[in-house]
């Protein structure tokens, strides 16, 4: 009882602190931007550098990803020069999932994180089995045949990955990719909204959202849903584009983003506007520290962030305790 009261008091203090800092700064870069000059029904938010009604943002984001789904992976490689693969590998390395873990990959779209997760867990399991065999070299014939049978029936729990995305086109592309890679076991595809997940409470060990949370209209709701579906002890991990700290790198990054990326979008995918939205939405996303406090407000503990590539991408991690 006392613990929950303490939690509420801590949250209230943190909220009041943030309000003070926001008014002191003058300009709030936190989405969604609530312009209370309009009536409550017509709250507006940002879509890239445009201001749109909140109801419209989800529709427009859906349209963007519907258009880019077919060329999504090729464009990722072209835009980041293949570095996005390293970022995702680093996410998995930080996650260090163990066999038996259940992953929920929200905004998982084409399944990059889930495929890596299953691969990682599979190699972990192989390593475990090899270790078990090594230490069991002097076993009797009976014990050895028993250990073979456990490998087949897989006594300990299988790891599963659930890919959840609001966009059916992205999931379709992901499924085709899974089939071509030959990954079928332990993978499921679910259509769902990050702000309202179609899962029960306390279901997953790990919740990831990679390069998806900046497209969500109400990020705080998505964070609360993440808290809900995670098991106690579960980990929330968010990979997202963030603010570059080094000023020289920031200038280069801006120039590259605004000059090169829409051009690549037009040439490779035939869609300038979607990629213009992409680079603008990156600028509208809060900084590492702000997002960290948003995650703490949702109720996560031990929130940390790691910068990759000088702050171009940040990995935020928190635990549900």
């Amino acid at each position: 009882m006392a613990a929950s009261v303490r939690l509420l008091v801590r949250q209230a203090i943190r909220l009041s602190h943030r309000n003070i800092t926001v008014t002191a700064a003058g300009v709030s870069a936190r989405p969604p931007c609530r312009c209370f000059s309009e009536s409550a029904e017509e709250r507006s938010t940002h879509f890239g550098f445009e201001t749109v009604p909140e109801a419209e943002k989800a529709k427009r984001v859906y349209k963007v990803f519907e258009n880019v789904a077919q060329k999504y992976d090729i464009m990722n490689d072209a835009m980041s020069l293949g570095i996005h693969r390293l970022w995702k590998d680093m996410l998995l390395h930080a996650m260090h999932p163990q066999p038996g873990a259940r992953l929920l990959d929200v905004a998982g779209g084409t399944g990059d994180i889930s495929f890596r997760f299953l691969e990682y867990v599979r190699s972990q399991r192989e390593r475990q089995q090899r270790r078990a065999v090594r230490f069991g070299q002097t076993l009797s014939w009976q014990d050895i045949s028993n250990s073979y049978s456990t490998i087949e029936t897989d006594g300990p729990r299988e790891s599963t990955a659930v890919v959840c995305d609001i966009n059916k086109e992205m999931l379709k592309v992901g499924k085709e990719k899974a089939e071509s890679l030959g990954i079928t076991a332990g993978l499921s595809w679910v259509v769902g909204d990050a702000e309202e997940l179609p899962f029960d409470d306390d279901q997953f060990d790990i919740y990831t959202i990679a390069f998806g949370i900046r497209n969500v209209t109400h990020i705080d709701q998505a964070l609360q849903e993440a808290l809900r579906v995670l098991k106690p002890g579960g980990r929330f991990m968010c990979l997202e584009f963030s603010k570059v700290t080094n000023p020289l790198l920031a200038r280069l990054y801006d120039a590259y983003s605004f000059q090169m990326i829409p051009v690549l979008g037009e040439v490779i995918a035939g869609d300038w506007k979607s990629y213009q939205y992409l680079v603008e939405s990156i600028r509208k996303f809060p900084s590492q520290e702000e997002f960290k406090s948003m995650i703490e407000d949702a109720g996560f503990y031990c929130v940390q962030y790691y910068n990759f590539t000088g702050g171009v991408v940040a990995l935020h991690s928190g635990f549900k305790l």
């Binding site: 550098f49 445009e50 427009r60 349209k63 258009n67 801006d254 605004f258 000059q259 090169m260 829409p262 051009v263 690549l264 037009e266 040439v267 490779i268 035939g270 869609d271 300038w272 506007k273 213009q276």
Partner: protein, 273 residues
């Protein structure tokens, strides 16, 4: 009908566009994957303002993409838009100096299935321009609505000239009697290069023959090519003709008026699969 569009783009960090023209909000249906918004940034529906750097990158990128995959018509279109500024100005001036061309520039007709009266055109006699155009569309299984909208031209009038050039391309096929196979397209490109001076046409004219086999190359260089170039040089500006008012005119008559000789040999038209 005339609306002042607020230019939020002026507030953006990197891009300061000194645009202050009023834009006519015509509900032109765009064929590309656009958001269906009444408010659009730019000078005309579908306009995407670009910096010089972006235009340069676009022209290089679209050139490479179009060479790799000639079926990427949108890349050919983008190449034309980003490289054709000077040629478009010259074309526009030619149109202005011609009374019929001036009428085209002011009235801004568009050639789309929705604006064409297909039943009336089908009822026209054989040999008339409208009937032959319809026959061309049916034989080659093409539609005038497949032309991409202009996006990267930063002047509203020049954008219309570019759009008109694209829409007149099919009519040129009819006028020149060329089918839509590779040889026919290259012949039309040679004509257009001589007529308009657009760098994209010149590039297509030079690189198109690389994809032809030996017999077609021979046909191109000996008869079709010289005829196309000669006609292109001598012909009246094809963009200045108000085609929408000339459907009943006989094709031969129109060719004579435009100083276009009939084709020496018609390459076999293949049905598009």
């Amino acid at each position: 009908m005339w609306l002042l569009i607020p230019f939020r783009w002026i507030n953006r960090r990197r891009h300061c566009f000194t645009v202050s023209k009023v834009v006519c909000v015509q509900q032109l249906r765009s064929s590309s994957t656009e958001f269906t918004n009444i408010h659009y940034d730019g000078l005309y529906p579908g306009h995407i303002p670009t910096t010089a750097v972006q235009k340069a990158l676009l022209s290089i990128g679209s050139g490479v993409a179009a060479l790799q995959n000639p079926y990427r018509h949108d890349m050919v279109a983008v190449l034309g838009e980003t490289t054709g500024h000077l040629a478009l100005i010259k074309l526009r001036d030619r149109m202005r100096n011609d009374p019929e061309g001036y009428a085209v520039l002011t009235e801004r007709p568009r050639i789309r299935l929705s604006t064409l009266d297909l039943t009336k055109m089908a009822s026209l006699p054989d040999g008339s321009f409208g009937r032959e155009y319809l026959r061309f569309l049916e034989d080659n299984d093409v539609t005038p609505d497949s032309r991409a909208d202009v996006k990267f031209v930063d002047n509203e009038e020049l954008a219309y000239v570019m759009q008109r050039y694209r829409e007149v391309h099919d009519l040129l096929h009819t006028l020149l009697g060329m089918p839509t196979n590779m040889l026919g397209e290259v012949a039309v490109k040679w004509f257009e290069a001589a007529q308009t001076g657009l760098p994209m046409c010149a590039l297509g004219a030079v690189l198109g023959p690389l994809r032809l086999n030996a017999s077609r190359l021979q046909s191109l260089f000996t008869s079709l090519g010289p005829w196309a170039l000669q006609s292109g040089r001598c012909a009246r500006c094809v963009l200045s003709i108000f085609y929408e008012r000339r459907w009943e005119q006989s094709l031969e008559d129109l060719r004579r008026e435009l100083n276009i000789e009939p084709p020496p040999v018609i390459p076999k038209a293949k049905k598009k699969t």
